[in-house]
């Protein structure tokens, strides 16, 4: 662990070498999410809501999605950009070192400037939690925690898929962004606003619905939800396990391209 912090510190220091660049990048990453949420708020204002959802519920979901996404973007950048390691041969160097590969890949990159977006998502989260109309109890507190952690696990699983995918095809990374960036944007709304097949895909194949829609129903007591709706974020743990298997399989198959 201390090794990990050391490598993070090195990346932070190197980023501070270009201070102006760092500040601009930080602002940019925060502005992006801000404008996306602002657009949603403008639309909600124009149309008087979406489905039977209220503005603060959307803000909460945006916070949850964006927290998981930006946290993984910051700490999991090594996996996110893993395809570059395959291209430039860094993976071969990592393989000969006597440390866990996943750990080394995670150490290989870190983007501190994403902290702008992370702080912003925490603000959305807090605002959402304070303002939504929920009768809080301990279990519901656990549910909201599960939603946040579930979002984190889910986006981590997605970068694992992305990294595993690059063992077989390096060029298709744009496609993978659909589930990371696309997932963040689409899960800023409750999954039930979408067409059935679309919502089904993002619930049963990639479990976005399990970290936003079902637990939110439970929190808000919408339509007598059973108590296990609150536990659906746990599905992401199984999903993450499957992704790890895929990743390990990819690693075991890996043959260097030489050079």
């Amino acid at each position: 662990m201390s090794l990990y912090f050391k490598s993070i510190l090195i990346f932070i220091k190197s980023e501070f070498e270009y201070r102006a660049s760092f500040i601009f990048s930080l602002l940019a990453s925060a502005l992006n999410t801000f404008f996306i949420l602002a657009s949603a708020l403008i639309l909600m204002d124009t149309f008087g809501g979406i489905g039977d959802w209220k503005i603060n519920e959307i803000i909460l979901l945006t916070g949850i999605a964006s927290f998981g996404h930006s946290f993984v973007e910051m700490f999991g950048r090594g996996l996110d950009h893993f395809y570059k390691h395959i291209k430039n041969g860094l993976l071969d160097r990592l393989l000969v070192r006597p440390r866990n590969i996943t750990f080394q890949v995670l150490c290989s990159n870190f983007e501190f400037y994403k902290i702008g977006r992370l702080i912003e998502s925490v603000i959305f989260l807090i605002y959402g939690i304070i303002t939504i109309n929920v009768e809080w109890n301990i279990y519901k507190g656990v549910v909201i925690l599960l939603m946040i952690l579930g979002s984190l696990t889910l986006f981590f699983s997605i970068v694992l898929i992305k990294a595993s995918f690059s063992f077989w095809a390096i060029e298709g990374m744009e496609l993978m962004n659909i589930i990371s960036n696309g997932g963040r944007d689409l899960s800023s709304y409750p999954i039930d606003i979408y067409q059935k097949w679309f919502a089904a895909f993002f619930t049963y194949v990639i479990p976005f619905g399990c970290v936003n829609y079902f637990p939110l129903l439970y929190l808000l007591d919408k339509g007598n939800p059973p108590f296990w709706y609150g536990l659906t974020p746990l599905v992401t743990v199984i999903f993450c396990g499957l992704c790890f298997m895929l990743w390990n399989f990819g690693l075991s198959q890996y043959k260097s391209t030489g050079s």
Partner: protein, 266 residues
């Protein structure tokens, strides 16, 4: 003959590589288009009066996806940015070219080729979708001609703006951040994040004062017939004026930077 054949083979394989990227790109654009359409569909189900009729909005969203690479403000040639940061630019500066127009052409080609590879399949499939989700034909022949004209002029305008940022990079060496901030703000006021018609009055006024909407909002709304041909013609003049202004500013910055450029070793 042999060297030419192998050259041809090489070019084809390079082209095929880009084709794979183009196919994934097309798929990606379809996903985003569908996602936005579903989100708007949920809003339109609320039954509130909307500033944009549904068919117009759907067409707007599909054109946006089809010409995505053309209107992406943060697009820049990474070769150029890298050359400024690494100092390679010094070699460019000693060549007997005008660096401004050289880079202008390079960025222009980059964006145009990107679009040419991708836009037609998106347009064709979007036209064939079920009526509710389909791209519709342009409002009239005149508005279609104006759409093409303003789209191309918009590209010139957009690149004139990018050139100014390349110029600024000579002074700051922070390419990533500046390009991203510029991209996000410009895209919002261009009507990419949200069509300008949906915006509150204050933002609409601001958007109309800024040049960015002439790159996205203007051509797209001409296509769907939301802006009259008459207004379109006036806007073309506006586009040309902005282009002249920004090209002049860009040249000034670049020339000034060229005189002061200090290569930081190598």
């Amino acid at each position: 003959m042999k060297p030419y054949l192998s050259f041809l083979k090489l070019r084809i394989s390079v082209g095929l590589q880009y084709r794979f990227a183009a196919i994934t790109g097309i798929f990606t654009q379809f996903f985003w288009g569908a996602m936005y359409i579903f989100i708007y569909e949920a809003y339109y189900k609320m039954g509130t009066a909307s500033p944009m009729p549904w068919e117009q909005l759907v067409s707007y969203l599909w054109i946006q996806q089809a010409f995505f690479a053309l209107i992406r403000f943060s697009y820049n040639s990474s070769d150029i940015c890298d050359s400024i940061i690494t100092g390679q630019v010094v070699y460019e500066l000693v060549r007997p070219f005008n660096i401004y127009w050289h880079w202008y052409a390079q960025t222009f080609a980059g964006r145009l080729s990107n679009v040419l590879l991708r836009f037609s399949p998106i347009i064709i499939v979007a036209l064939l979708l079920p009526d509710k989700y389909a791209l519709h034909f342009p409002a009239s022949f005149a508005s279609f001609v104006l759409f093409l004209l303003t789209l191309i002029l918009g590209l010139f305008l957009s690149i004139s703006l990018t050139m100014i940022i390349y110029g600024i990079m000579f002074y700051t060496t922070s390419s990533r951040g500046i390009f991203n901030i510029y991209g996000i703000i410009a895209e919002f006021f261009a009507g990419s994040t949200l069509p300008i018609l949906f915006m509150p009055e204050f933002f609409q006024k601001l958007a109309y004062m800024l040049p960015f909407r002439l790159i996205v909002d203007l051509p797209f709304r001409l296509y769907i017939g939301n802006i009259s041909v008459q207004e379109g013609c006036i806007s073309v003049m506006l586009q040309i004026i902005w282009i002249v202004i920004f090209v002049t500013i860009g040249n000034l910055i670049m020339n000034n930077a060229r005189k002061k450029v200090v290569s930081q070793g190598g």
